[in-house]
Symmetry: C2
């Protein structure tokens, strides 16, 4: 008496692997995990809805990849090692081709990061993908949002703004040549979760956040929860390889408030600059120092020369409220 | 720059309580849990979609209660102690009254079971509620679906079928007087998760499952995964207090294949009958012995006199495919 949607679940059922934390996977009332002794568990959940987080008709391979990537990025921002995840999926219908491609994209990334699917739920309804992810880290090692201190450097991994540029291309706000569009779109659809960097920064960085809503908004979470302020050199922000060829105004806007970057923004004591660079090198991830944490509240932006930069709030509203 | 939906999240943000497993709750990239030394973790996820799992316009207090109740029921079916949960919520709009009522219903049950909300996600979209729940239990103590053995008794907690009767009333398949409708509807909207019973059955029961899709379907999961069969006395199934006043045919149909019962179906060695009854008494949950596990595959139904019972498959199709 298996329903169509019970059958769907089979696309996502693989036997638990030996040598992993999963004792019992998909197919019982609960999955069973055996947490590693002495470790804390980091848990995050993200819900992605069609027409809001992704376009209708998005390539299901890319969608499967990205759904897990954004969750891995949350683990990265805590410095946690990925362990496992659950997948709840609401689908308007059960198309074998779509399901095969979605699960291919999902498992490709899951295998790359050693992150095992241990349970889930599948139902009929408007397309909605909810992943809950589990990672591990030593007690007290988490890179929390509330741990920034005055005097810390502010760092950013990788580059910013190309995903927002791709979105502008899709929306025809900006006309891009096809090579630029393709390059920027790859950054939008296939963000690289900075897991190795997050782990390498344990004991070096103070605070971290992943940049999903835009640099200013996400750094703002650190400032608010750590009860500090910051000065940031807007022109030091590492613009993506496609964005960097655009105007200064667009570079600033999309680097500061683009969204969908899935890079890490983190703070570390100035005394740890060499350690940060060594960690980044070991993780194979470029990092750029863009500013510093200060005791006075608020975020101050400057240009490359240190002159205060006023950006029209209207430049951001449109981009930060999705 | 908080959006409307960031603000919504505040309905669900409460500070982590001392003396619990949560080290860090809502508001960072991840929540942090400190698993109890030597315990396994049980994890389950359920996605509830409007018009499929609940009617449009369902009282949000009841909806908040039920969303968590069905997840607690999954923990109960493993014999796990509730610890924490995450909530991902997609909402078409942000109505304060609805959110307050939904969170009231949710937290009432969460507090009753000592289960803490540690993280979540809120977004705009078609109404969809996804809870992932975490419990703990000693290594090897889980009541798994694959652990039934030939010779085991089959037991059911509480009563069955009243939720299905309420649904028949709502759908006007059956006309119920208002007192009956109210009593049956309470069982549909406010199932009692059998957490205490599940925990009390550790070391006594072999296999367990919670009855969400109907007794036959859910017992079927145990039979399939344990590679065994069963004989069940259909008339021994404990019909709900409203259903019991209806015809024998309806009692059998709704007890066998009603759905939404959220009772436990479990198996235990015949030698453990006294222990099962003592555990049920300690948990304050009535249990009824309804059949036995056999080595031959398949499910055989009998009437109270032991005569084979043939039920039209069509009686079930309608009810088991939601």
């Amino acid at each position: 008496m298996l329903s169509e949607f019970d059958l769907i679940a089979r696309y996502f059922t693989r036997p638990p692997r030996h040598g992993t934390a999963a004792v019992l996977g998909v197919g019982d009332d609960c999955a069973l995990l055996a947490p590693s002794p002495g470790m804390q568990q980091a848990i995050s959940t993200d819900m992605l809805v069609e027409d809001r987080h992704f376009f209708r008709g998005t390539d299901p391979i890319k969608l499967g990849y990205k759904c897990l990537a954004v969750n891995l990025s949350d683990l990265a921002a805590m410095g946690a090692t990925p362990v496992a995840f659950t997948l709840a999926l609401s689908l308007p219908d059960a198309q074998a081709e779509w399901l095969q491609a979605f699960s291919d994209g999902l498992f490709k990334l899951a295998d790359e990061y050693g992150c095992q699917l241990i349970g889930g739920d599948t139902t009929k309804g408007p397309l909605n993908i909810c992943i809950t992810i589990f990672g591990e880290l030593p007690h007290g090692a988490a890179l929390r949002r509330d741990a920034a201190q005055a005097g810390d450097d502010i760092w950013v991994s990788g580059t910013l703004g190309d995903p927002r540029l791709a979105l502008a291309g899709y929306r025809e706000e900006i006309i891009l040549d096809s090579a630029s569009m393709e390059a920027a779109a790859e950054r939008l659809h296939e963000p690289i979760p900075r897991v190795a960097l997050g782990i390498a920064l344990r004991g070096i960085a103070h605070a971290a956040v992943d940049i999903s809503d835009g640099f200013i908004g996400d750094l703002g979470h650190i400032l608010q929860r750590s009860n500090v302020g910051a000065t940031v050199d807007a022109d030091a922000l590492p613009a993506g390889p496609t964005l960097i060829r655009r105007s200064q105004e667009l570079r600033r806007r999309f680097s500061l408030a683009g969204g969908d970057d899935y890079e890490l923004c983190f703070t570390a004591p100035a005394s740890q600059r060499d350690a940060v660079l060594a960690a980044a090198h070991a993780a194979g991830t470029p990092v750029t120092r863009v500013g510093s944490i200060e005791s006075g509240a608020g975020l101050r932006l400057t240009d490359a020369g240190g002159a205060p930069l006023e950006l029209e709030p209207s430049s951001f509203d449109h981009f930060t409220s999705p």
